[in-house]
Amino acid sequence: MVGKKKKKGSKLVVNIVLGVICFIWLLPTLGLLISSFRPATDILQSGWWKVLPHQEWKAGDTIHLSKDVDLRKPIDVEGKTYSDDQLKNGVMADGSRLIWENRRARDISVQEQGWVTSTKLTTENYLNVITGKEYTIKNADGSETVEKGTGLSQAFWNTLTIAVPATVIPVLIASFAAYAFAWLRFPGRKTLFVLIIAMLVIPIQVALIPVLKDYTSLGLNGSYLGIWLAHTAFGLPLVTYFMYNFISQLPKDLFESAFIDGASHFNIFSKLILPLSVPALASIGIFQFLWVWNDYLVSLIFIGNQPNVQVMSMKIADLVGSRGNDWHLLTSAAFISMLMPLAIFFLLQKYFVRGLMGGSVKG
């Protein structure tokens, strides 16, 4: 009885700790979400938390001083003297705050504290991102034409076209390879496996220029096939290693009995291994998909910025403008690009945790 109570108590503590961690973890995302609904001018001026009710100094009376007051000497305000710096930062006097309202006109504002919520919200950021920004271009005669830019939709489909094959191909190849490494006996098996694992430590940056040279001579630059292959090659070592860990842990008896029944390797792979390794396939699939979806570097080098192939991450970078003048649009763009990974994750999440364990726990 006592033990049970203790267990319940500790569970509560664990839950609270987890809750706090989750909250801290989610806080930046929450801030981003709120920011994405705020008008651009507000984002520049104040933090997202100002949307929540908070105490703020509100303007009350105004004290007018003489125009000739020298700001570099102590300033006399209703019998008391203050320095200019004090009045710049605000100074307390009888429960209210004195601060310059208009320093040029020598106006001082007497502020009282009060509750404020700034609830100015807008969907403009999302509209700009989804349907494209509007550009006003002046003509020779002074008239203006409004041109509509492209939104994210084309880039969204481009990214999907890249991400799905770039996930399926490496996962498939790696499963075949993992099965061979785990259950087939052939000469050089260990050496080959170590070679593949060794590839994990090679940074992809060193391969960019050599691969680009080959792509140029093969004419693969800027084509979907080129980037599928690039992502496949860069992803294979990790995916193979992950799938090997899972498949090599499957019980040996299973294969022996299947062999005795006369099954070929291909049959064993397709009828036994694949159905059994769905959790592993799903979790590594999510990993690879996220990597490809969020990728910027590989796309930058191999596919470029032409609108018909441009991926989301690059389109979003372009949205802020040549000199970063529209950076507030990043807030809403980030959320839109997040939707797809989130959807994939929630669809496959029940496999995700199982798959993660599958690679690590023996037996």
Partner: protein, 464 residues
Amino acid sequence: MKKTIGSKWSLLMVLCLSFTMTLSACGSGSKAGPTTEEPKTPTTTNTTPTDDAGSPLDKALKGEYKGKKVTMFGPFVDADQKKFEASIKDFEEKTGIDIQYEGSKEFEATINIRVDGGSAPDIADFPQPGLLASIAKTGKVVDLTKVLDQDKLKKNYNQSWLDMSTMDGKDGKIMAGIWNRSNVKSLVWYPKKQFEDAGYKVPQTWDEMMALTEQIAKDGDPAWTIGIESGAATGWPATDWVENIMLRTTTPENYDKWVKGDLPFTSPEVKHAVEVMSKIWMNKDYVYGGNKSIVTTAFGDAPKPMFENPPKAWFNLQGNFITSFFPATAKVDQDYDWFYLPPIDSQYGKPVLVAGDIYAMFNDRPEVRAVMDFFTTGESIKSWVQSGGVIAPMNDASLDWYTSESDKRMAKLVQDATTLRFDGSDLMPGKVGAGTFWKGMTDYVSGTATLDKALEYIQSGWKN
């Protein structure tokens, strides 16, 4: 049922096999890559013009290159890309040449990889000539002296522009590019309407400007609003200040020596320039938010206090592109305007600091020549000039094209300048101009380094 699944799998198997084969083909290729001789880029094959019947541009206008494609790669995106596309539309329709522009925010990083990887665009737009100079040394840039009519260029550009496009090639000097857009960096922006209402007058000399700064401080506002924060490039607006003051306190020859690295940062000339700058920057009554806020204010946010009512600050020194950061409601010539950063020492005349975009050619094909030829004409940028934000460096660009008084005055300023000099930090090697110069100035302004230490640190960029 079982059979269909089986056939499906074998189909997948075949698919995968074919992929692995392509993959392995690629793999062996990349291994062979470094050992084989450098592939001959189309750059080196020089197709000489077949006849002198007309310039490439004339031929293109006759429709000889109809249906040909010319790829172009540059750093501008978004609104600027729209303006660019509008300015080449007419040319594309007339000639049938399709100019495929690709803009990337990562231009500086990508262009080297593309050129090294053999997939250079036909034409690239370099905002920093220093970057082009380093690529020109590898010999991968087409020498334009053989491609474009030199007499025509001499007629259409000031000599200083042509000098600035001559760079070191693999063997000897080459003309690495042509200037297509320029912007002016000696401008002080101010809120015109309120400025006039307050009874201030545009200063004609540096002393007048300092007197006005003091006057504004007495009236209750800091005169200047300065921000040098710009992400990884933090510090660059400070380099514009130093360059502007250098041109006003020493000879153009000294400026050129300084840009080349012959006049060190630790020399009295450079130190004096930074000291002149410090008289404004380090006075907390003269700078909005005090000198501490300079480093943390984004250069694009700096002009914002000028547009509050009443303005909280009055002056912002910045190139003409800064107008894209101004509030959309503010009107040029009415709400805001600029004045020329006044001379300090009358013996150095009226120097103007400019920057610009230089177009370089990587692949020599007749249609690319035609497009390059087109870019040397004012016509190629007419509609961009009309929509504002750029100054055309060509002589055949008419002043009437500028739709705002402000832009027109700017173009005139460039034409009348006694000394025209390019932004020094863009010409210096990247390690200095986009490295220690930025960092050293930031350290000095934020107070983490003394002036001498900062200048020594900037100078150290030349060593390695």
